[in-house]
């Protein structure tokens, strides 16, 4: 048995994707944990931003809200929502993380509703918040999620935040900034990227304990496969120690 859980693996993999000197806008929960872990391992100069205005805080604990006072504790700047979104729009923010109830093969995400009638949804979720803005304007969008065939669907009920829309060049043609879009989808089973031409979700590596069949069976659309599929490098002992002892000692996130 592995000595880590799926959430710990996803956070460790996400953290490795944030290089030193980059900028990232995060929400509460796993993305914030990934950014904190990244800072405490290989990216001490990763700039963490929160959409309410906090920039580069020294986080004394995990924030409850992206606008609470922890998000600008000993920060470089306590700015505003338009300041953060305009920094994204200007092309100065490298990464963001999104969550959602559904995702399709082009990385389009639904966090708004299930059902057909927008005015009377069967199930209403929190909605975009800043998700659409960040997905539209940051260079690279990542997602950490548990993988199953309902969540990974070719027909999301609603597209809240843009991935590559209908694939190919459609994202840019729709008016969104050139060169932006989904970058990595990190699940409990595998790590996916997107094909350079078609923009279709493509498996890059498979997590320990899972097979190609598991990854495909738990996806509601046909996945593409990279030429060389590797084994995902599992969490290292030092990453796990920092994550458990320093980043999330109360297990708010890794205990889920």
């Amino acid at each position: 048995m592995a000595d880590y859980n799926a959430m710990e693996l996803m956070i460790c993999v996400a953290a490795r994707n944030l290089e030193d000197g980059a900028t990232v806008v995060v929400g509460t929960g796993a993305p914030c944990a990934a950014a904190m872990l990244s800072q405490k391992t290989h990216s001490p100069n990763l700039t963490i931003m929160f959409e309410a205005g906090g920039v580069a805080p020294i986080l004394p604990s995990m924030p409850i809200s992206v606008g609470d006072s922890r998000t600008f504790h000993k920060a470089i700047m306590a700015s505003s929502m338009p300041e953060i979104m305009e920094t994204c729009q200007r092309g100065m923010v490298d990464y963001t993380f999104l969550g959602g109830a559904q995702i399709d093969m082009y990385g389009n995400i639904n966090s708004t509703m299930i059902g057909k009638d927008h005015q009377k949804p069967k199930v209403r979720f929190p909605g975009s918040g800043g998700a659409n803005d960040l997905a539209s304007l940051c260079w690279r969008t990542m997602m950490m999620t548990v993988q199953d065939a309902k969540r990974f669907t070719d027909k999301p009920d609603f597209i809240t935040s843009p991935g590559y829309l209908q694939g190919g060049n459609s994202r840019y043609e729709a008016g969104l900034p050139l060169g932006t879009g989904p970058y990595r989808i990190i699940t409990n089973m595998a790590i996916m990227g997107f094909d350079a031409e078609t923009k279709w979700m493509t498996v890059l590596s498979i997590n320990p304990g899972y097979s190609r069949k598991d990854v495909q069976d738990n996806c509601g659309f046909e996945l593409k496969w990279a030429q060389k599929i590797t084994d995902t490098d599992p969490p290292h002992a030092e990453e796990l120690r920092i994550l458990r002892e320093v980043v999330d000692p109360h297990r708010y996130i890794i205990g889920r």
């Binding site: 929400g27 509460t28 929960g29 929160f50 959409e51 309410a52 205005g53 906090g54 004394p60 995990m62 924030p63 409850i64 809200s65 992206v66 606008g67 609470d68 006072s69 998000t71 600008f72 306590a78 700015s79 505003s80 929502m81 338009p82 979104m85 729009q89 389009n108 708004t112 009638d117 927008h118 005015q119 009377k120 949804p121 069967k122 199930v123 209403r124 979720f125 929190p126 909605g127 975009s128 918040g129 800043g130 998700a131 659409n132 803005d133 539209s136 304007l137 609603f158 597209i159 809240t160 935040s161 843009p162 829309l165 459609s170 994202r171 729709a174 008016g175 969104l176 900034p177 708010y252």
Partner: protein, 327 residues
């Protein structure tokens, strides 16, 4: 170029000349604007108005004003669902809102979802137009600038745009496609600040969200403040003035006024009490009793504060905020 439009209703008038006509007659007098919560809500909001709330959901929110809107049974309000959490939860409890520009309304971030807000939205009682946090920020900024719209490069290509009331335009310089976000001029805004003088010259510390633009965009603005300070103090550091007096119509000193929300550098959120809201909301009858006790049964915000632990509670929340509880 194929330029699309959203299919939903634009709830407010983006015409800058209509806004100018209103602002032409708004008082510029530097006179005391001190009043009470009851009086401000009674005179400044009428049924059917479109309202917007400052802060960020459960951070620096004007709780006393929100409760009083429920107590006075304000109805059929439009609402800017911009970074909204506990504020929306309170107004939905009072069934005050019938239409909403929605970016974020039913979630309380890491705490989970409001069952009551979710039922209200899923019932179809609320007319919804989709936007995003960034979009609503820019809609307020467009109004603050005295314009009818602001171009931006988000939301295009998605259902969020389709179910908005937005429009696409072609940039006259680059030929690129942009979203044209309509200016949002609310009828009424309530903002909780750290300090202001009796004229409404206000200071805010910490993340300011969209409140500077909101104070300029809204037609009528009430400030609740942790402390009234002297105008001399304002004049000593004019660069600290976040909102100037001419934006403000009413001022009320409400210490601990963001409770149960967080007030940066003052007190942290009361997570146990917010959890109580989230738990009791799951049963509509229990929630009704809870509201009777907490809001309808209290005469004002101070009774609510006393009911939930009073000054002893506030000192605990202050020690959490200042991290002195860890020593």
């Amino acid at each position: 170029m194929d330029l699309k439009s959203g299919i939903n209703t634009l709830f407010t008038d983006p015409d800058p000349d209509n806004a100018r006509e209103f602002f032409r007659h708004k008082s510029r007098a530097m006179k005391s604007k001190l009043t009470t919560v009851q009086e401000a809500v009674r005179t400044m909001i009428k049924d059917g108005d479109y309202v917007a709330i400052g802060g960020f959901g459960a951070n620096r929110i004007p709780t006393a004003i929100l409760h009083e809107m429920v107590r006075q049974k304000k109805k059929n309000l439009g609402f800017a669902g911009h970074t909204s959490t506990h504020d929306f939860q309170i107004l939905v409890g009072g069934e005050c809102i019938d239409r909403c520009d929605v970016a974020y309304i039913i979630g309380l971030e890491a705490r989970g979802l409001s069952a009551s807000a979710r039922r209200y939205v899923e019932s179809g009682k609320l007319k919804l137009t989709e936007w995003t946090n960034g979009t609503l920020s820019w809609r307020l900024k467009a109004a603050a600038m005295g314009l009818s719209f602001l171009p931006a490069r988000n939301i295009m290509g998605t259902d969020t745009f389709k179910y908005s009331a937005g429009k696409e335009i072609e940039c006259p310089y680059t030929g690129k496609k942009f979203a044209a976000h309509p200016a949002l001029y609310p009828d009424f805004a309530a903002i909780h600040v750290h300090e202001c003088d009796v004229y409404g010259n206000a200071r805010v510390y910490g993340a300011s969200v969209s409140d500077q633009d909101l104070a300029k965009a809204a037609k009528r603005v009430v400030l609740t403040t942790e402390r009234i300070i002297s105008t001399d103090k304002i004049r000593q550091n004019p660069e600290c003035t976040f909102i100037p007096f001419w934006c403000v119509d009413a001022v009320i000193e409400v210490p601990y006024g963001s409770y149960p929300g967080n007030m940066p550098y003052e007190y942290f959120s009361d997570e146990a009490h917010i959890k109580e809201w989230l738990t009791v909301e799951k049963d509509p009858d229990e929630f009704r009793k809870f509201l009777d006790k907490q809001i309808y049964g209290t005469k004002d915000f101070y009774e609510y504060l006393e009911l939930n632990g009073g000054i002893g509670k506030m000192m605990k929340l202050r020690s959490i905020e200042l991290l002195t509880d860890r020593q």
